[in-house]
Every structure is written in C-alpha cells, then in structure tokens.
C-alpha cells in the first residue's frame, strides 16, 4: 500500500483529527493572510506617503547681495534626497492695460506679481485659502491668474491678455489662464495700500517674473525631498552650504501626522502576525506531538512490516501538508472575499484608492513558509518515535 494511499485513508477516516487540524490551519492562515494584507497596504501607504508627503526645506536668502543663482539651484538639485525645487520670486510692476482695484493710498497701475514654478504648492493656493474660480493654474511661461474682482473691474476674462512694463521699459504680454478668489477681499480695510490689496496680487510662473525683472536669481526656494525621513539630514547639508546667507526651515507636518498613524497600524499588524504565527505554531506543534505519541504503535508496526522510516515520515508529513494546502486555499478565498469589506471598515483606508489585497507573490510566500513550518513541526513531533527502538514500543504495548 503506497504512502499516498495510506495518507488519504488517514485523512478520510480520522475525520475529527483532520477537521480539527484543517480548522486550525484555516484560522491561522486567514489571520496571517489578513494581517499581511493590512501590513502590505500600510507599507504601500507609507511608501506613497514618502513620495507625496511634500515635505520640504524652505530657503530664504537673508542677504540681498547673495540670492540663489542658477548654479545654486543645480547644486541643490543634485543632492541625493532632493526631488525638485520650487523657485519663488516677486516683483512690483506697472500694467499699461489694466487698472488696479484702488485703496486709500498707492501707486497708479502697480501690481504685485508672484512667481512660482508650481503655484499650487507653495503659494496661498497650496492651503486652499485661495482658489481658482475659473480657468486653470498657469501652465505656459506667460500664463497668469488674476483676482476675480480685478477681472470684473477691468472686464477681463480667462484667455485675455494683460500688458506689463518690463525693467527696461519695453512691454511684455501675459495671458490670463484663470481667475481666483481668496474669500478675504471684502474684509480688507481701506488702509491697505493699493499694491498690497489682494485684488492686485497676480500669480504667474517664476520665469515670467524674472523676465519682467530682468534677473536670473531667486530669493526664496522650496526644496522638496524624496524621503521625508531624511529631511533633517538634507537640511544639515543645506545649512552647511548656506549657513551665513539664508534662513532655512522645514515643513513636514503631513508626513509626521500620517507617519504616526501608519507606523501604529504597521506595528499592530506585525504584532498580530507574530502572535498568530507563534501561537499557531505552538498549538499545532503540541497537537501533532500529542497525536504522534498515540501513533507510536502504528509507526513501530509499519517499521516491523519492512516499511522504511522515510516512507513513514513522508506519510505523516503528507497528511499535514495536504490539510495545510486545503486550509490555505480556503483561507485565500476567505481573505479575498473579506479583505475588501475589512478595508471599508478601516478608517485609514477611507478616501484612499489602495485596495486591501495580497499579491500572488506574498500568498506564495505564505504557502511555502507554511508548508516548511508544517514539515518542521511534523518532523519534530515524529522524531522521538522514529528514533525509539521498535522493540521497546512493541514491548510496551504487549505489557
């Protein structure tokens, strides 16, 4: 009678033992796959967060004689942890086609133009204090966004052009890409200078502002990093470079807040994983040890019948492996069905597009490690009875 035939007979006929072991394997596998699913998502979230946390270092030149030149930009940009730079510039400029919303005091037709490489990242638009009500953020080098009240007063619409006077007296056209509102226009006092009124603030690209001013340098730069966890190290590097001429600050509130939450989820899932594997291994190990003890006679009889120890060991291992495999498949289906529901229950997942599921590679890993664990536990449980002289076992039985 072959090893496989004996294995199948054992599983079929020893129903209670097989079902109990199957149930235990199912529970353990479900918990392991579930916690790994959550852990995988928390790791992915942490990675996403690192990429999109927008942690940054702000550099502000303190010396008018030492602005940040293009070479500085290249040096900073070459730092390993630096992702990209948002150059920031500002200029007060006269328009020949547009009249500002007047305050009590101020210069005629003077506007403040703020330039950003990415307006939506570091300007008042970043905090959603200012919002685009019509059109888009500046895309092209001549695009600007103007206040809706200024646009209404001057009859400007998205797509219209405004002419500004450049540093050398020549004129430069800009295209209105969008209109914005801050919500605070009405709350300004009459004492605010015309050039400082919200309505007279115009936002464009950093290159456009520099074109108007005729400069090639910048007084403010926001340095965005790849890995927020190395933000302090990068700051130290920049401090060494610009210690005397720039004020350097860091902003990574978003990352710090979410990092704590994700770190907590990660630690909890890891703890559940370790506890499940440890407790599961102990319970399965003890059960197998107990059951193998009751099978020592069977082992002795099979040896006395001339069946090799390897064959007997294979039978016992195969029994547990088949049950484990069935349980794993069941757990896989269960977690596949349940994980999306669990993900809906987790507050951390709300509004996130990442779905709670395990990749094939992870599942295969769990299956392989589980099978190896089963082989080891069975081997440990059966070892004493394989080593024990058959004569002793049979003598014990015969009394």
């Amino acid at each position: 009678m072959s090893c496989l035939a004996r294995t199948l007979c054992y599983i079929r006929r020893k129903k209670m033992k097989s079902l109990l072991l199957l149930f235990l394997f199912l529970v353990i596998n479900s918990m392991v796959l579930g916690t790994l699913g959550i852990r995988k998502v928390s790791l992915e979230l942490a990675e996403e967060l690192r990429k999109n946390a927008e942690s940054k270092i702000t550099l502000e030149s303190m010396d008018v004689n030492h602005p940040f030149e293009e070479t500085d930009m290249q040096t900073i940009g070459n730092e390993p942890n630096v992702n990209w730079l948002n150059r920031i510039s500002e200029i007060q400029v006269v328009s020949t086609t547009c009249i500002p919303v007047a305050g009590n005091e101020g210069s005629e037709n003077v506007f403040t133009i703020h330039g950003y490489d990415k307006l939506e990242k570091d300007s008042p638009f970043a905090d959603k204090v200012y919002r685009i009500t019509e059109g888009n953020y500046p895309q092209g080098s001549k695009d600007i966004v103007v206040n809706q009240f200024l646009a209404e007063d001057n009859g400007i619409q998205a797509g219209d052009k405004i002419v500004f006077e450049m540093f050398d007296g020549t004129e430069q056209e800009a295209v209105v890409a969008g209109l914005f509102l801050s919500g605070m226009e009405r709350s300004q006092t009459e004492n605010v200078a015309t050039v400082n009124r919200i309505e007279n603030q115009i936002y464009g690209t950093a290159d456009f502002v520099n074109k108007l001013s005729g400069r090639t340098d910048f007084f403010n730069v926001a340095v965005y990093v790849n890995n927020p966890e190395q933000l302090t190290d990068t700051k130290k590097v920049l401090e060494n470079m610009y210690q005397d001429c720039a004020a350097i600050g860091i902003t990574d509130n978003t990352f710090q807040k979410l990092k704590m939450m994700i770190g907590q989820t990660d630690r909890i899932t890891f703890l559940i994983f370790v506890m499940t594997v440890t407790a599961g291994s102990m319970i399965i190990g003890l059960l197998l040890a107990m059951w193998m003890r009751s099978r020592k006679t069977e082992i002795a009889v099979l040896i006395s019948l001339g069946i090799s120890k390897e064959n007997i060991l294979s039978q016992m291992v195969l029994e547990e492996m088949i049950l484990y495999f069935i349980a794993f498949a069941g757990a896989g289906i269960a977690t596949k069905l349940l994980l999306p529901r669990i993900s809906n229950c987790l507050a951390i997942m709300q509004g996130n597009s990442i779905t709670l599921e395990l990749s094939f590679g992870w599942q295969l890993g769990v299956l392989c490690i589980g099978l190896i664990g089963v082989v080891i536990l069975t081997g440990i449980a059966i070892f004493p009875y394989m080593e024990k002289p058959v004569k002793e076992t049979l003598s014990e039985m015969e009394g």
């Binding site: 019948l305 001339g306 090799s308 002289p389």
Partner: protein
Amino acid sequence: MLELKNISYYYKSQKDKTILNHVSYEFKKGVMYAILGSSGSGKTTLLSLLAGLDVPVDGTVCVGGEDILQRGLNAHRKDNMSLVFQNYNLIDYLTPVENVRLGGKADAEKLLEQMGIDQLQRKRNVMQLSGGQQQRVAIARALASKAPILLADEPTGNLDEDTANEIIAIFQNLAHEQEKCVIVVTHSRELAEQADYILTLKKGKLEE
C-alpha cells in the same frame, strides 16, 4: 534456514544481567517451533532479534547463510519475516483489506477469505471486528508478504480457547502445507505442545 550463531544479548544499562548467553540454533523450513519461557526469560528479545527489530550484542543472525545485518534489517523485515503480535497491531484507520495490503502485494481478498473473514467484514473498520477476527487479519497480513519465516508473539494470548485452537491450526497448516518456518513465542505449554519442536528459554540458553 534461519540460524542463530552464538547470540548474546544484554541491556547496555544492565551489563551484568545477560538476557541471551551464546545462543546457537538453526530453524528449518516446514517446521513449527514453540519457544517457551517464563516472563522475563528473554522470549520477546529473542523474537526481536530474529525479526531484525533489534541487534545482538554478540553473534549473528543469518537467513540462508547470510548475515541479516549485511543484507539490511529493513530488507530482512520486508523479505524474510512476517510478524504476528499478541495485540494484533492492526492499523486502526485501515480496513482489513488495506491492512493486509500493508504486508505485501498478495491478493488481500483471497487471503482474508482463506482466513474466514467474509466480504462484509473485509470492508468494515478493522477495530469493529472481534479479537479472533482481528488476529486472523493479522495473520493474513503476515502471509501477504510471502516471507518464508513467520514469527508470532503470544498469538493466542488474548483469544478464547476455540479461537486459539483455530489460530494454531492455521499455523500448523502454514508450516506443513506451505513449507513456512513458523516460530511461536509463548508461555502456554498447551499451545507449545502442538508445535513440532518445543524450545525452552532458560537462564539465557535455548534448549530443545
């Protein structure tokens, strides 16, 4: 056929207490032997040595002139020996047919039929059979290997008189009709007297 050559045995923890002391004997095929001895005389030890379940401290066990250690104990157990135990030692999750198939490739159904196990009983759980029926299954399993030597350790110890007589008759038949060497270890003089030869194990010596 089966030869004990100057066999000595003692437990390693009790070297001063010799179980078997320079025992030599040759068992022949077609003969039924009974080995008598009181409890603790070394009957089961001798049987274990013959079956290749243990190895002697000194001396050799030979089958057909070949040392069983040279042949390999596992091969010896598989090809030369078949065992019948007092407690039957059937595998409880197998049917009688499957238990017999463990012994070898012989026709299990036919063997069980010869042993008087009907078709219905052959498909039942082996533990649901009576003691006598279980012992018959155990004998059928021993015969399935077609090994030339059959060793039985107290085969009728748990059986009533009638069933015991039936089992003895089967052993006699195996020895005389099928030319097997049947060695029965027992402390029952009644059973021993039905064997062709009675050997007594006393103070570590085997006497005819």
